[in-house]
């Protein structure tokens, strides 16, 4: 590796780390304004035009807060926990392709499943052949920050939050991994870039509709957002694992949650929404090449693909805020039931569907639509079975009592 490549790598890392932290800051503003709209309020609009400087004001406030370590806390682990939470959230971005900008001007290579010349894509830090496994490995390590914070604070509520997080995250990881596995089976590769390339024509949501639904539910649970935020349920656990944290250490947990949210949305875009692809991207590249040469075409394709990716990402983030505004928190036993008795079996079923469909039906497009039909059918049946029956034993027998007089 020569030093130019190393320099590019370092710049990429800096840009991504700073980019996702900025994205986190503005996601909080985005969410607060949107939530306010959903609830018929106005939301923060005082700092700067339309509240544009609100995240800056929040950051400054958090920096100047007193930094307290509880005297009975386990000091080393207490200090380590925020770092262990935030590091996985940031390193997960290494394998996510934001777009495809070949710095040598070889833009056609972006669209070839087996590139003849190696691609030099600067919009992805690491194109490795186990990208998907890397994503799963890093998400599975993300549990530690929360769990250890709960334990180290030496506070009963924090501890309950920590224990809940361990049980909850391990349960949903399984369904998440199985949903992702079906996507890998569909495209036959672990590389995130190759998965995006393979979604030419049909986006991943068509063959893997069932996986998409499971992935969205499990991913929301994995980032402990509202319908599944048992880990930090304010009404019962004060604030859960982060109760005893203040100042920037609290901000790091907050940051972790939102960066992870952006990350799972990005992963959903890559697996199910065609990543940086959109119809006409290749035509755009060809047109610009005719006008201004291959380098300009490469930059045009790169910027257009980056824009498409970010647009899809924002759409997913909007969806996630919408979900948060619409659903109340689940009960804990229901949460476990959903994860183990519904999502996991459905995900396993989906793996079977995928394998059988692609082996029996030689035409891939046909197989994709068959899978879509199977997925929708299965979801409808599952919802039919899952209707909550009348809780007979809990009914008060008013009529009986009246008859007894």
């Amino acid at each position: 590796m020569d030093w130019i490549a190393l320099l590019i790598l370092i710049i990429q890392c800096f840009v991504i780390a700073l980019g996702v932290t900025t994205a986190f800051a503005y996601l909080t503003l985005f969410e607060r304004r949107l939530l306010a709209r959903f609830q018929n309020r106005i939301g923060p609009n005082r700092a700067g035009p339309n509240g544009f400087l609100q995240p800056v004001a929040d950051a400054v406030k958090l920096f100047f807060k007193e930094d307290v370590v509880p005297s009975a806390a386990n000091r080393a682990v207490y200090l380590l926990a925020p770092a262990m939470a935030v590091i996985p959230a940031i390193i997960i971005w290494a394998v996510i392709p934001f777009g495809c900008l070949d710095i040598r001007g070889n833009w056609q290579a972006c669209f070839e499943p087996q590139a003849t010349t190696p691609l030099q894509n600067i919009l992805q830090v690491a194109e490795i052949n186990i990208g998907v496994l890397y994503l799963l490995a890093v998400t599975s390590i993300g549990v530690y920050g929360i769990t250890l914070a709960g334990w180290a604070s030496n506070n009963k509520y924090s501890m309950l939050g920590g224990i809940r997080s361990a049980a909850h995250l391990v349960s949903y990881e399984l369904a998440l991994a199985c949903a992702v596995l079906a996507v890998v089976m569909t495209y036959g590769t672990f590389s995130t870039h190759q998965i995006v390339v393979a979604q030419a024509g049909l986006w991943g949501i068509v063959p893997q509709f069932l996986a998409f639904v499971i992935f969205m539910i499990a991913a929301t649970a994995e980032v402990v957002r509202l319908p599944f935020d048992l880990v930090e349920a304010e009404q019962e656990l004060v604030g859960g694992y982060n109760t005893e944290y203040g100042s920037m250490k609290f901000a790091l947990f907050f940051m972790t949650e939102y960066i992870k949210l952006i990350a799972v949305s990005a992963i959903a875009v890559i697996f199910f929404m065609g990543g940086w692809r959109f119809p006409g991207l290749y035509t755009l590249g060809a047109g610009v090449e005719n006008l201004a040469g291959p380098m300009a075409a490469s930059i045009a394709v790169g910027l257009a693909s980056l824009g498409a990716f970010l647009l899809k990402l924002v759409a997913f983030l909007f969806l996630s805020v919408w979900i948060r505004a619409s659903w109340p928190r689940m009960r804990y036993d229901r949460l476990m039931d959903l994860g183990w008795k519904w999502l996991l079996p459905l995900a396993l079923l989906n793996i079977v569907y995928t394998a059988v469909a692609f082996v029996l039906i030689p035409n891939e497009t046909l197989a994709s639509f068959v899978l879509l039909a199977l997925g929708v059918l299965t979801l409808v049946i599952a919802m039919g079975i899952n209707r909550v029956p009348k809780p007979v034993d809990n009914v008060t027998y008013v009529k009986d009592l009246k008859e007894m007089g």
Binding site: I130, L133, L136, T147, V170, A177, Y397, D400
Partner: protein, 188 residues
């Protein structure tokens, strides 16, 4: 470059392993073991085995250690080590056996012929590749692979059965309770 990374990683792995044994607090031990797992995962990467790297992190660091932590936290067992040892001869025996194991390992390593050179060129490109690994698992090692699968399946079914049995009893008791309550209500 590779040698330097190897030395640093190996040192971290060793420190993690020793500290894990020495630490008095079970949670600290778990964290040091996690450090050790992470370092071993990096060693797999150095051996051109990205698949094992990912699996090591997912399975050991991501699942098994989380369950360890969960159990330790749930039982509040993190300070149990403070009590004096119940079995006096346990510690010397453990150290002795450890030394014997190390000697055996060293003897094996020294007796083996020169280390196999890392595969170069074309072999390296597919070495440790998930597809190559899967092909081996489904052809050459099919029987062991399937036996492992069946053992795991038995464990899963066992968990469900044990859980169902407990649940059944408590549900029966609950229904019984509800019935007696209703009867009492009616009597009143």
């Amino acid at each position: 470059m590779d040698t330097l990374i190897f030395i640093i990683t190996a040192a971290i792995a060793l420190i993690g392993a020793v500290a894990m044994v020495v630490a008095r607090n079970a949670i600290h031990s778990a964290l040091f073991l996690l450090l050790n797992f992470g370092a071993v995962a990096v060693l797999f990467l150095l051996l051109y085995s990205p698949f094992l790297f990912a699996i090591q992190l997912t399975v050991y660091a991501g699942a098994i250690m989380v369950l360890f932590l969960f159990v330790v936290m749930l039982l509040g067992a993190e300070r149990i080590e403070d009590a004096p040892d119940q079995i006096a001869w346990q510690r010397p025996l453990g150290i002795g056996l450890g030394v014997v194991l190390m000697l055996v390992a060293m003897a094996t390593a020294l007796r083996a012929s020169a280390f196999a050179p890392p595969p170069g060129g074309e072999a390296l490109a597919t070495f440790g590749d998930p597809a190559a690994l899967a092909a081996l698992l489904f052809t050459h090692y099919l029987l062991p692979f399937q036996i492992t699968g069946i053992i795991l399946l038995v464990a899963v079914i066992g968990v469900v059965v044990l859980n169902q049995r407990g649940r059944h009893r408590s549900e029966e008791a609950g229904r019984e309770d509800a019935r007696t309550r209703r009867r009492e209500d009616a009597r009143r």
